[in-house]
């Protein structure tokens, strides 16, 4: 195999993983913009999406199972906001972030009890494990195309929602200036619930499309949350589109690190990037230094 093809292969695998980090990072951003909270249970939405879709796929055709999982997880996201964050609105942001970490542990334990510790996966959406598509000589699974396509479409739809619809604009207004949004008659509590639902839905969708490639297990969420967080910070918090760039970058760097470093160091690259960004450029690659960022923590 030529080295160009090898590089392309690494690149594609990096983009695939990076897409999922991007989905998680967008979720981080949506909730952060609307509430100021960093939701470390974000990875659990991905895990739940995959697990629920696997279970539903025993009873329903695949598209229904995926859609059902996304809707159910979106409802779970809304419910979490209603039950835990709305009543605790007056506590400090740090309290609420710690609550998200607690929730993440509870959701994992619940998943362990509902399912078990077995690794599951959805069937390939088209073809199977051994079918492959050739792109410039690199062989990739058709599922990778599903991942990339799904993520591209959802990012575009999200962009249209935030830019061109009344509710999407209202959501941006809430993050831009909550008090003024309230004075304009926007029910910002409901907008926060919507933000939780939306990012849960995005996470679940990511969890479904990636499931055939990476498999799903009750504890698959936590590492995704951390890498998604690293992606969100790298892109600059408060900007969902920058999160996509951040996610892809981290995925690609991870993929190439495998070619140079032992595989055991795979996770190190994401953490190294996270620390580097926090030290050198805490507002991220695309954020402005004066904008909101992680510095307040």
């Amino acid at each position: 195999m030529g080295s160009e093809i090898l590089i392309l292969q690494y690149l594609l695998s990096g983009i695939t993983k990076g897409s999922i980090y991007a989905m998680v990072a967008i979720g981080f951003n949506l909730i952060f913009s609307a509430t100021g909270v960093l939701n470390f249970a974000q990875g659990e939405f991905v895990m739940l999406g995959g697990m629920i879709a696997v279970t539903l796929s025993f009873y329903f055709p695949l598209p229904v199972a995926v859609a059902g999982a996304v809707v159910i997880v979106a409802c779970i996201g809304c419910l979490l906001e209603l039950l835990f964050f709305r009543p605790l609105r007056h506590h400090s942001i740090l309290h609420m972030i710690i609550i998200t970490i607690g929730l993440s542990i509870v959701i994992q334990e619940a998943a362990l009890h509902i399912w078990d510790e077995k690794v599951r996966s959805l069937p390939y959406f088209t073809g199977n494990e051994i079918s492959s598509v050739k792109i410039y000589g690199a062989a990739i699974s058709p599922q990778v195309l599903w991942v990339l396509g799904t993520i591209t479409v959802s990012v575009i739809l999200l962009h249209i929602f935030l830019r061109y619809t009344l509710q999407g604009r209202a959501m941006r207004a809430c993050s831009s200036n909550p008090e003024a949004a309230m004075l304009a008659g926007i029910n910002i509590s409901n907008m926060r619930t919507l933000a939780f639902g939306l990012s849960a839905a995005l996470g679940a969708l990511g969890g479904c499309v990636i499931s055939p490639i990476t498999m799903t297990q009750y504890e698959a969420g936590a590492p995704l949350a951390i890498k998604g967080f690293a992606a969100a910070i790298l892109g600059g918090l408060g900007n969902p589109m920058a999160a996509v760039a951040g996610g892809l970058l981290i995925g690609i760097i991870e993929a190439f690190s495998v070619s140079k470093l032992p595989a055991a160091y795979n996770d190190v690259s994401a953490f190294a990037i996270l620390l580097l960004v926090l030290f050198i450029r805490p507002h991220g690659l695309f954020g402005s230094p004066s904008g909101q960022g992680v510095r307040e923590f």
Partner: protein
Amino acid sequence: MLLQVKNLQCGYGALEVVHGVSLHVCTGEIVGLLGANGAGKSSLLKAMVGLLTPWHGRIWINSRLSGWAPAWRSVSNSVVLVPEGRQIFSDMTVRENLIMGGYHNPDRKSDIDIILDRFPKLRERIGQVAGTLSGGEQQMLALGRALMARPKLLLLDEPSMGLAPLMVEEVFAEILKLRDAGVTILLVEQNATATLQIADRAYVMETGRIILEGEAADLLQNPEVKRAYLGKSYKEVWE
């Protein structure tokens, strides 16, 4: 009577800022509310729209008891507050700011045109991000955004703050025009002269209480007001 406040007390945490204020605004009036920094003017306005919960006392808007509803409901009472410091959505465009102002207004598309006719400068900047506007333009945008909700009662908190004298004149001329268009206005200001010149009546607040009230023309002549708020020295007043 469009707005009536009786014996209102409110504050932040354990600190009471407004100690029993009563005032009223009739339909079609411009009423001024004067006072120095920290007199409790802004807190009073916040209580009227539900940003602050009243501790004690009553607020009637359109003869309906109000004051405990969340702030986002005040718009449906046709009361809109233009907050201190304008508080525009600075990372959204001028058009988006106006659309947000008309969040509950089903005719928001056609109303934008009416607002842009009123503030032609905003039309030039319609696609621009609001944070890049000048202070005066931002004040116009804040006014325009508030008007998108078609308010009956407009609460203005320090609209002249931080503006160049020429801009201040323009803003006050705009307020007069709004009154002529049928909007009732409660104007909170530190700029007492300009306020008393356009207002029908006015209240003067000091440390959380109303210490003076009356016709604007009378207050302009009142020696106490002259001394404390119109920047005249004792000598000028008492001669």
